[in-house]
């Protein structure tokens, strides 16, 4: 793929009926509502422009795009003038050229003429347009008033604002408003003094700017430009690939100079992001080049020894022989593997294949265990498919949006921008969250209802909403009759109608006034298309699966499944959580969610793989660790997951790992889990390999190799090396062959192949004979399972209780700039926004404890203790404290307990009873952990070959 700029049509696409007009003698039919500018661009007539770009509504400020329209006076701007039937437009004439040159002459009279040394040289619209209009002279000279002395703002680590290069086209301001929805930028001053300002004329870094890059993307000059372009020069080729951060799955152009990545630019044709991005995907890719990356395999005899760098051959041979030895000594089921939601579908598929085919058992699990396993269970039980119902674009048709246990502006920022756009258009918002997340109140957005429930009471809350809907006669009865299991419905309706489940009855429990619950339920049921978006605040509870089913019940009862603008939509945490689940990473099911005891499915795999497969479910991660401490589980292959930091009850995880004889960790960095590893296999980044990711909307998108793996192998190749060392005889030469095997063995993926992905850009599963083009929306005419299944969701409170020793409830979450355990983002300039995890505590609770903002505090639970600094805020309710878990120093999971979801063992991260007290230093655990980590990270380089 060579470097080409994406075509810019100037104004957004319109959807009206066809209108015919003539542009420069050429007749063309375009949808009504299309601008003249866009219509012209469609017939390759590029009208000069600076303030227009097709990602933003037209603005009409630069006045370069003037045209002549027969029968109309003056020179209308083609960007703001829509086409009309029979219109005859001329885009070029001596008169227009003179006007355009006149405008350009004014621009250039206030612009530095340093094109040759400008970092945007060759990639500057002002430069291009000056050429296009034929500017040859600036008769005003340079002696007049100007902005050439403006000071650069270099506060943001990723981009620079140079006001001298600014042409005040407002594209950045409009991008911040329309695309991102943060409204951090403004035009300060009037007339000639107009200038772009961040917030109240602050530096970009200290302003409300969230560094999404939309302004940089929109800037036609180098007024806003990536620092990497300033440093490395403009790119010369680009490769379209998929972001490796959250489950939104933004498509990017990796813009390269030779082997070097210059910048990541969100791809306009990306179906999940439509050319938008966030600070992580766009800017935080520097970890791939970070000095901490381990590039050589390493082995050691015991975890207190230093690492020894070895050859790939030696490392792989060691792994294979250790696993075979353990199985000989302790039995076939004594080893297992963990697949990664950060790796590609192909890699995940291979790891589970390694376990099932090579290890001969089903001891494979994935990090989705700790995030979205309840989604799989809950939605499969109610709807019949372990996946969300809609694509992201569907939110544009929603009239009511219910966000529960999710914080999209931090966790899924690009989707949040789309959602906020819809909210600004007037859709109503209900937020169910213990914390006052940003969505509750942000510029031009205000939730109609915020139900700040006590952590752990989701099921009670949802059942109370159902109570209102059923007892007030708001059920969509026709829908239920036609689409759902009516017997199950009747049972459920009777259950929720019990006065014990009324909002009034549970008010004491949830802490939310009954009237608010009633109003929210009525709005959800009667406000038009209603869509539910949820995240880990739903799943990571003792009742995670119940909550998912309670959500599904609400959606079915109100007829909100199977059409645009509705549905039940899990926001997936990691880039490939959906894919990892799809690929058969769970110990009880093969790819495509077929149980291992399903003889037909098993036979298919047995035939393809040439071995007999275990019909019994394998161990889940927590059970593996239990078995390890019991002495029956001795070896594990962990690809791209840091279970020590990410899984609950760190001490228990550490004990499990310590009890094993061969822990193999494959990762980019020596992560926390690697402290307990015997073999370390270097991993490759998403930039270094081919494959696919599947995002939260079941969208399968290509990951493309833009550079050679620095560690020598793509992760799929490493798994193949291990498999072959164990005698499996795999022969993949490209991930496309793995996808072909996936398609062969997985009915929902039957029609997926790389050629089709390249042609279409992406595909949403199921892709098969029944849906050859994929399935953007599920359950349209009937549920996948046949009739929608209402499930009685009794509220069974967690056994984690507050009391005199632990009077507060801790809940956890993420922040925009950091990603999960932070292994990647902590190794980028994103630390500028979030250097440490802080404990949010309500002023009332802080006052009672003598805690001031910024004080070190000790956070203690039944499981453990840590210290961190306090942040006093009323975003959390009294009695609730909150922290993020991005920094290993804090070890928030030392605190979390091993209570978990009853159905899936997804850990209860969101509810821990704690006490907070003033402190003046790290806890004992933190100190000893630091010492241990330091010791276990020692590396002895390989002996130099002499």
């Amino acid at each position: 793929m060579t470097f080409t700029r994406e075509k810019d049509f100037g104004t957004p696409e319109a959807m009206g009926e066809a209108v015919s007009l003539t542009i420069d003698g050429q007749e063309i039919a375009v949808p009504a509502g299309t601008s003249i500018m866009r219509a012209a661009a469609m017939v390759e007539t590029d009208i000069p422009k600076l303030c227009a770009t097709d990602s933003l509504e037209s603005f009409g400020s630069c006045r370069l795009c003037l045209v002549e329209i027969e029968g109309r006076a003056g020179y209308p701007a083609s960007c703001t003038t829509p086409v009309a039937p029979g219109m005859v437009v001329h885009t070029e004439s001596e008169r227009l050229r003179k006007l355009r040159r006149g405008v350009m002459e004014l621009y250039i009279s206030d612009h530095p003429l340093d094109c040759l040394t400008c970092s945007a040289n060759g990639d500057c619209e002002l430069q291009d347009q000056a050429g296009a209009v034929g500017l040859r002279d600036v008769r005003f000279g340079y002696e007049g008033e100007n902005h050439l002395e403006g000071c650069k703002d270099e506060s943001n680590p990723y981009f620079t604002f140079d006001p001298a290069k600014c042409i005040v086209c407002s594209r950045c301001v409009r991008a911040c408003d329309e695309t991102q929805g943060t409204l951090a930028l403004t035009v300060d001053g009037r007339g000639f003094a107009s200038k772009i300002a961040a917030s109240q004329d602050e530096s970009f870094l200290s302003s409300e700017c969230v560094s999404c890059g939309a302004c940089v993307q929109a800037c036609p000059t180098s007024a806003l430009i990536e620092n990497t372009v300033i440093e490395k020069g403009t790119p010369d080729r680009s490769v379209v690939t998929t972001c490796a951060y959250c489950g939104v799955g933004c498509a990017f152009r990796a813009e390269m100079r030779g082997e070097e990545l210059v910048r990541m630019v969100p791809w306009k044709d990306g179906k999940a992001n439509h050319g938008h991005s966030c600070v992580k995907g766009r800017f935080a890719w520097g970890y791939a080049q970070h000095r901490d990356r381990v590039l050589n395999p390493m082995v050691r005899g015991a975890v207190d020894e230093p690492w020894r760098e070895v050859s790939w051959e030696e490392a792989i041979a060691h792994v294979a022989s250790e696993y075979r030895r353990i199985q000989k000594d302790y039995g076939t089921r004594a080893i297992g593997g963990i697949t990664s939601s950060r790796c590609t579908n192909e890699e995940t598929f291979l790891v589970q294949k390694l376990v099932r085919q090579g290890f001969g058992n089903n001891n494979v699990d994935t990090c989705a265990r700790v995030c979205h396993s309840p989604t799989g269970y809950g939605l499969k039980t109610t709807f019949g498919t372990s996946a969300g119902t809609q694509d992201f674009d569907s939110v544009q048709y929603a009239d009511v949006i219910l966000v529960i246990g999710a914080n999209p502006t931090d966790g899924h920022p690009v989707f949040a921008s789309l959602m906020k756009r819809r909210l600004r258009q007037g859709a109503k918002l209900i937020v169910v969250d213990p914390r006052r997340i940003d969505l509750v109140r942000s510029p031009h957005i205000e939730a109609s209802h915020h139900l700040p429930l006590r952590p752990g009471t989701n099921v009670a809350m949802l059942t109370a909403m159902a109570h209102v809907i059923v007892t007030e006669g708001l059920v969509d009865e026709a829908y239920v009759r036609e689409r759902c299991d009516t017997e199950a419905y009747a049972e459920w309706a009777e259950f929720v109608s019990d006065p014990a489940h009324s909002p009034e009855a549970i008010e004491e429990l949830t802490g939310v006034p009954a009237a608010d619950v009633r109003a929210a339920a009525r709005l959800y049921a009667t406000g038009g298309n209603a869509a539910i978006y949820y995240g880990l605040g739903v799943t990571e509870h003792s009742q995670g699966s119940s909550t998912v089913m309670a959500i599904a019940n609400l959606a079915m009862a109100t007829g909100n499944v199977g059409k645009e603008g509705t549905g039940v939509n899990p926001l997936r945490g990691q880039n490939n959580v959906q894919g990892a689940c799809d690929m058969g990473s769970f110990p009880h099911e093969f790819s495509g969610y077929r149980h291992v005891s399903d003889n037909a499915a098993r036979a298919q795999f047995e035939q393809d793989w040439g071995v007999a497969l275990d019909p019994e479910p394998g161990l889940r991660i927590p059970n593996m660790l239990d078995a390890a401490t019991d002495g029956t589980f001795k070896g594990i292959f962990i690809q791209g997951e840091d279970i020590l930091q990410s899984d609950p009850n760190t001490k228990h995880v550490a004990a499990g790992l310590a009890a094993m004889e061969c822990v193999v960790v494959q990762d980019l960095f020596l992560n926390e889990t690697a402290n307990y590893a015997h073999v370390f296999l270097p991993g490759s980044t998403f930039l270094e390999k081919d494959g696919t990711f599947t995002n939260a909307e079941r969208r399968i998108q290509r990951v493309r190799k833009v550079m050679e793996p620095r560690n020598g192998y793509g992760d799929w190749e490493v798994v193949q090396l291990v498999a072959n060392a164990m005698g499996l005889g795999w022969t993949y030469t490209h991930p496309s062959q793995i996808m072909d095997e996936i398609a062969r063995l997985t009915p929902t993926f039957a029609g997926v192949n790389y050629q089709m992905l390249d042609e279409r850009g992406s595909l949403q599963w199921p892709v098969n004979a029944a849906a050859p083009g994929g399935t953007p929306m599920m359950h349209i005419d009937h549920f996948v399972r046949g009739k929608g299944n209402f499930v009685v969701t009794d509220y069974v409170p967690t056994d984690e209780r507050t009391g005199p020793r632990f009077p507060l409830l801790l809940t956890t979450g993420r922040i925009l700039s950091q990603y999960n355990v932070g292994a990647q983002t902590r190794r980028t300039a994103n630390v500028n926004w979030h250097e440490e995890d802080r404990l949010e505590i309500h002023p009332h609770d802080a006052e009672n404890r003598g805690i001031r903002d910024g004080n070190w505090v000790s956070l203690r639970s039944r499981a453990g203790e840590t210290t961190l600094r306090a942040l006093i805020t009323d975003r959390v309710a009294p009695g609730v404290v909150y922290t993020t878990f991005h920094h290993p120093d804090t070890q928030a999971n030392v605190i979390t307990t091993d209570f978990s979801d009853w159905a899936t063992n997804c850990p209860e991260y969101k509810v821990t009873a704690v006490q907070v007290t003033p402190s003046n230093g790290p806890s004992d655990w933190q100190q000893s952990y630091r010492a241990q980590a330091e010791q276990s990270r020692r590396i002895e380089p390989a002996e130099p070959a002499e």
Binding site: L113, F140, G191
Partner: protein, 517 residues
Amino acid sequence: MTRVFVSKDMASVALGADGLARAFADAGCEVVRTGSRGLFSIEPLVEVETDGARIAYGPVGPGDVAAVLDGSHPARIGAIEAHPFFASQQRFTFARCGVTDPLNLADYAANGGWKGLEAAFSLSPQEVVDAVKASGLRGRGGAGFPTGIKWQTVLDTDADEKFIVCNADEGDSGTFADRMLMEGDPYCLIEGMAIAGHAVGATHGYIYIRSEYPFAIEAMREAIARSAGKVAPFTLEVRVGAGAYVCGEETALLDSIEGRRGQVRAKPPLPAIEGLWGKPTVINNVLSLAAVPFILAEGAQAYADVGFGRSRGTMPIQIAGNVKNGGLYEVGFGVTLGELVDEIGGGTASGRPVRAVQVGGPLGAYFPPSMFHLPFDYEAFAQAGGLIGHAGITVFDDSVDMAHMARFAMEFCAVESCGKCTPCRIGSTRGVELIDRIVAKAPRESGALEAMPQIRNTKGAARTHDEEIDLLRDLCDTMKYGSLCALGGFTPYPVLSALDHFREDFGGASALPEAAE
């Protein structure tokens, strides 16, 4: 008890009307405070009710009470209607101004008030729109767009909510008709807006008044409160402008009402289709809306019968500047510029010869006496390179420096530019710099630009005076045809007209310029 009438209009008050009113009250008179009659040279004016007629005296002061009351004061005018300044007027819109107590509902009703609204209520919305169309009423704010057609668009656009917005951000220098009407006959505007509401299906209206008009704001607020029952279900509120000239531009005004930075919106979409908060909106000037009650009360034909060419009805013309009889003069279109300046205005106040008249506010063209034959008419003025605008005319005597006035226009534009479009944002500042060089007879020398090695196309030598003048004309061309709104688009009118008619003030060769486009 003797009833006397004294204006409480802001201009009259500035001339001492409050003291006069107090003096009459102290003398035991019943003082009725009215709006202004509109001729400032006779202010402070008092009218004494004598045998059912009103005898006017002016200008008079507090010390003149006794002489006025005994009829001996030399400033006796007699019946005001007979005064030459008033006798020749056709007061359709300002009929009650200066006559009634502005806030007295009974006074309003007794002087023909509400007749238009009652007539409108008896008609269908389409019939009301048809009447306004038939009257030939055009927007009095300056653009002259037919009001009925605008209303028709709003009527035809389906929406759950529509608005009537009155533009009372009267910011042109030398204009005061909006203020006089709002202070002197606020119910007339309310009635016009209520009729508009009925005609297009709007139930709420906003009056956007500039903050410099505290009396008008107060009068309108009070009048809205008092007449609420009369215009119900139509409701109204006053919004106070934030001081930017550009907020008088209709789309910037909508932004301002919505609570945003007042910036010009590109059209389309037309405000009539997507206006305030995206809803169909009638946005009209005070004088347009205030003309409507007459049209409904007296019939479209009565209005259309007056006028000239395609400019029908009357225009409240504001005569200001260096002029003897400054004030408000309402008359049918067609009166000539010369009649207005010399006969009605009475020539300059300084007594020196008239040199230039600017018509249409600070961005209107300057006309020399050689063009005084021009009839007051949208088309005639446009053809002569000018515009009627809000019908303010400002008179200058022969001491005026027209290059300085051209510079003032550019400077005004630079100060008031919202900064959105490039021709206005950068062009106005370059215009000031350029005229400064022209006036100083110091054409631009080869400078920093030419010193740049990469700049090889520019003429290396110093520029000539004529080249600078040509550049000014080019700049005016770019601004006139390239600007987004009338601020940048009209700034070239005073500049080019000064150049065309008063070239001698710009120095250099005095060759006759080519006709302006």
